[in-house]
């Protein structure tokens, strides 16, 4: 009886053993690799923020607003905005000098069509945001200062609206906190 049940139950044991080995192996690799991944993420945010605030030395994260310091003095804050683009979501990192003027904008990820919508990542479009007042952050046709990337009005509009709306929302939440 013993050998027979063993034979019948053997498939179950084999799957469980294989899964057990797989899971433990992965657990080990993860513990080895996890610090490195955290460092990479850290590094990525660091580079992103440095792009907008070149003279940044360190930053603190207070419930999804990055406060930027240069040798102790606060020089602005940054936050994430998500625009509904043509191909999908566009993640944007927005930096503000103070409650009213925009320091700079960088596109973190997008699914726009290459050659058209993807041109919102080019500096020619992004530099228009620098130094603008939040109220002026709109497309020229909507009375703003920013002219859209030719042939990609949906993507440009999406970026602009996202920056403007999230900026206002974050400024309000900052005022509430002070």
């Amino acid at each position: 009886m013993k050998a027979d049940t063993l034979k019948k139950v053997f498939p179950i044991i084999s799957i469980t053993v294989v899964v057990f080995i797989a899971v433990t192996l992965l657990g080990l690799t993860d513990t080895v690799v996890r610090p490195r991944i955290e460092w990479q993420k850290e590094q990525k945010i660091q580079d992103m923020l440095k792009e907008i605030f070149p003279d940044m030395t360190e930053y603190t994260l207070e419930d999804d607003i990055y406060m930027i310091y240069s040798d102790g003095a606060e020089i602005g804050f940054a936050f994430l905005a998500v625009g509904k683009g043509y191909g999908g979501n566009i993640d944007i990192l927005v930096g503000l000098e103070n409650e009213t003027t925009v320091k700079g904008v960088t596109i973190i990820s997008h699914l726009e069509t290459p050659g058209l919508g993807a041109r919102v990542t080019e500096s020619s479009f992004r530099d228009q945001f620098a130094g603008l007042n939040i109220d002026d952050v709109a497309l020229k046709r909507d009375g703003g200062q920013i002219d859209a990337v030719t042939g990609a009005t949906i993507s440009s509009g999406a970026v602009v609206d996202a920056v403007r709306a999230t900026a206002m929302e974050k400024v309000k939440s900052l005022e509430k906190r002070e």
């Binding site: 084999s14 797989a22 992965l26 993860d30 690799v33 490195r36 069509t113």
Partner: protein
């Protein structure tokens, strides 16, 4: 040694997974936008293919027939997750571009296909030859496709950041359709036809 070589060559020309058997298409089309992606994906696929098939052929005697597919797939998934973690930690740039298609190597028809058809029936040595051949065949095909797509799609070629050259006319006005999904189908269709025309593969 001769058998090793014959098996290896077979994987590349006669049974080239991509152009002859039309297997493993899913990652190929999505990822072959630039040569860097192509190389990264081929590297990952070759590693997973060889490693998992070696393990599969090593334990082929202990695996009960009824549950052999789930067990093979778990082994392949483990190696893919290892590659996923290593890419995430050490080559984040490529990890971003490959995105969701890195985990998809698990369901890549080539790997399970080879495991099921070959590795589960032959000793380890032959499996190494076969998987290396198939892996290199897949890599060659993938790189050719990405070469054409990047050349026509962006007008310029760059290898890991180093800009090789830019085409005169295409540089400014590249044919962007080659980077879009339809371009991928077009390139593979034409390459298949070219291979059939030049007799590399037999036509239907």
């Amino acid at each position: 040694m001769d058998k090793f070589r014959k098996q290896f060559i077979a994987g590349i020309i006669v049974a080239n997974p991509l152009f002859v058997l039309a297997l493993g298409l899913c990652p190929t089309l999505a990822v072959s936008v630039t040569i860097d992606n192509g190389l990264a994906m081929s590297g990952a696929v070759i590693f997973v293919l060889v490693a998992s098939n070696i393990v599969v052929s090593a334990i082929r005697k202990f695996v009960p027939n009824m549950v052999r597919i789930p067990i093979f797939i778990v082994i392949i998934a483990t190696f893919v997750t290892i590659v996923d973690l290593v890419f995430q930690a050490y080559i984040p740039a490529l990890y971003e571009t490959l995105g969701l298609f890195l985990p998809l190597i698990v369901v890549n028809c080539i790997i399970l296909g080879r495991a099921e058809a070959f590795a589960s029936k032959n000793p380890v040595v032959n499996t190494i030859a076969d998987t290396l051949g198939v892996g290199v065949g897949f890599a060659l095909a993938l790189v050719t496709i990405s070469f054409f797509r990047e050349l026509f799609g962006t007008g310029s070629l760059s290898l890991f950041g180093v800009d090789l050259f830019t085409l005169p006319v295409l540089g400014e006005h590249p044919i962007t359709i080659f980077i879009l999904p339809p371009g991928a189908f077009l390139v593979i269709g034409l390459l298949l036809a070219l291979f059939r025309r030049t007799g590399v593969t037999k036509s239907e």
